[in-house]
Symmetry: C2
Subunit: 396 residues, 2 copies
């Protein structure tokens, strides 16, 4: 064995034979490349789900940091499950802090759940289209991602029920029930109840990823997925509501699952930064701070969304899309256009988006694209959509 | 399959059948339990490798945070490999920032390297005794940890050479070359050269974990392990020099390995907090700030070490140990004492330590214990060692 390695090294001078199967199979990093595009000078980005920097509560974060750092324990090692103060705040007055685990953003929760639930070959149901980061984290375990279609009411639970009856046996179902990424759909109340019933009947976990739930601009909230079910683990984050750079998320779920996740987390990064946990704890612990902050954030994003919808209606009459009641994204179909091909010329024209195929599990989504209305300055929204229309016209 | 799950759930009402093999095999979380012991009221902790909170540069961190948060980009998403500013500072004027990856503490670097290098059944050499967090992160991949003994000069590279010649074929060798945890040993210069030559001959990676290198109190620094070798990845952190709560570490190594680690990191937590990265960048970017800070830190820890050595010489004459030239730990042998049994009564007496068996790979280390001289207030050092001596006397 050693000899084989040595001879390989002698021939090519390279070491990447040493990479694990998982590393060799890893998807090229779509989000990262997109962030690069989005950062190129002169490019208006409708691509990444970056919240509006203009709405970061900078002064409040500064003050929270200053107060937090007055306690030396803020700079010390902490517990893997998260700081007791923050977990109590996150659980709320009626919740159980022992069921809350603080994570380095929701992305880490996905990674931890993949580790503790999925063996290679296991099945996990994901919506098709599906958030890229979930596909990466859950798929890197060697589990089989089974795509289930959705519509304006979210994941098609009838179709899921049929497939379960036919023998599909997933360990988990991943869902973004509120303002799905990329589709913008809200899972209908009846489907939430049906999904929970299926989970309890067939014995799988519902991974409910909810980064956008607080960002509702119209309509009425829908009841949580399985609020009292022990089959649900709920993922939350401050990335879209306060700031992603803090890297503070959390999940709450049944004891057996949280306990396993904490053991895994210890091995992964010991714990999430006690500094950023303390900042978030100070903000969320202040009476009505979050409500007040959200009261400013929602109309801002509503106006962003409306500006994008208006620009599309004006400049891109062929575009087909629904208007989401919240979140950050429009999921747009351009009949007859291959959006992956379109991206290159769009970037040359000075605008970026995410092509539908980046989210595809099994479906052909080459005519779709995801547009974020969160990031671009409002005064530039029509310029961005103009550029998009221009690149579409050139592609025709 | 689904049916089997359902019937299981009906009988026991439990879901942990759903856990992955890895989660079920996970070691009970030794460090975490120890942190719990260390935090019990009235217990003086010689257990965890917690730096002295008294030496956290609180005012400087506060100011750095305030400046860093004046730029809105500090709160936004960042690149998976880390912020460009910080990577340039970490690489230094002669280094290559593209070979530097920022991690959420060194613990995450160990996890990422495990992911991208190790498949189940692969071999990885670790020192015996070995840092618990490395064992967890590297072992959780399903790789086989092969322990190699060491002595006062660190890992026995002659023994390693023999085993390689006999067919041992590791993908990597893990080593803490400077002030090893727990042994305190410094890998001798000749052994560093031999280890590098073996890595290049047999085609394995040297994972050089160096959290303590800057904390040298006596003697002269030894040349780096393979400073120009493409077979070395070096792990660094601010956890022991500035503050662990920031969760900022970094690694530098060959392109093929750093590229794979960045793809894995994106899936794991997107990126390390841009807030804590910016704080560290401001501190390390300030001319001579770190040198000045270390100039205060080293005599402090030297005095801590000397106080512990003096107390042991006075109170525990049977204890056998060498005096390390740096780091945070004394590695102590108590002939005839089972230190795991001792721990329980020691905690009752009001002092905590880590029993040797926590670090054992294949060896029997039941007579050893690791004492940290970093955490306890100096005025309480003799009280802590008194209590330890008292529990040893009771155990005899």
């Amino acid at each position: 064995m050693a000899r084989a390695l040595v001879s390989h090294l002698d021939e090519s001078g390279q070491m990447h034979e040493l990479l694990s199967h998982r590393a060799r199979a890893a998807e090229s990093s779509a989000i990262r490349d997109l962030l690069r595009h989005a950062e190129a000078p002169g490019v208006l980005s409708l691509a990444g789900g970056l919240p509006s920097a203009a709405m970061f509560p900078v002064a409040d974060v500064k003050q929270a940091a200053d107060c937090a750092l007055s306690e030396r324990s803020t700079l010390q090692y902490g517990l893997s499950e998260g700081s007791a103060d923050l977990r109590a705040i996150l659980a709320g007055p009626d919740g159980d802090p022992s069921r809350v685990v603080v994570t380095t953003g929701s992305q880490q929760a996905l990674d931890l759940l993949g580790r503790v639930l999925l063996d290679p070959g296991d099945q996990i149901v994901v919506p098709d289209p599906c958030y890229v980061g979930a596909r990466q984290a859950l798929g890197s375990t060697g589990a089989v991602l089974v795509g289930v279609d959705g519509d304006v009411d979210g994941l098609d639970t009838d179709s899921l029920a049929d497939r379960l009856a036919d023998g599909l046996s997933p360990k988990a179902v991943y869902v973004v029930a509120n303002f799905d990424n990329p589709s913008g759909a809200v899972l209908a109340a009846g489907r939430r109840r049906m999904l929970t019933a299926l989970a309890e009947r067939y014995g799988f976990v519902i991974i409910e990823d909810d980064p956008y739930g607080a960002l509702r601009y119209d309509g009425t909230p829908v009841d949580d997925v399985g609020p009292a079910s022990d089959n649900v683990v709920r993922l939350r984050t401050v990335s879209k509501t306060i700031a992603p750079g803090l890297r503070v998320g959390w999940m709450s779920g049944p004891d057996w699952l949280m306990d396993a996740a904490v053991v895994a987390k210890q091995s992964v990064d010991l714990h999430t930064s006690t500094v950023t946990q303390a900042i978030v704890g100070r903000l969320l612990g202040e009476n009505e701070w979050l409500d007040n902050h959200l009261a400013g954030l929602r109309p801002w994003y509503r106006a962003q969304r409306d500006a994008m919808v208006e620009a599309l209606d004006t400049d891109l009459a062929d575009a087909e899309f629904g208007v989401p009641e919240g979140g950050m994204f429009l999921w747009v179909r351009l009949p007859g256009v291959d959006t992956t091909t379109l991206l290159r010329s769009a970037i040359e024209t000075g605008v970026a988006f995410v092509p539908g195929s980046a989210f595809a599990v099994d479906r052909n989504l080459s005519e779709y694209l995801r547009l974020s209305f969160a990031t671009v300055d409002r005064c530039e929204m029509s310029v961005a959509v103009d550029r998009l229309a221009e690149s579409v016209a050139r592609a025709a």
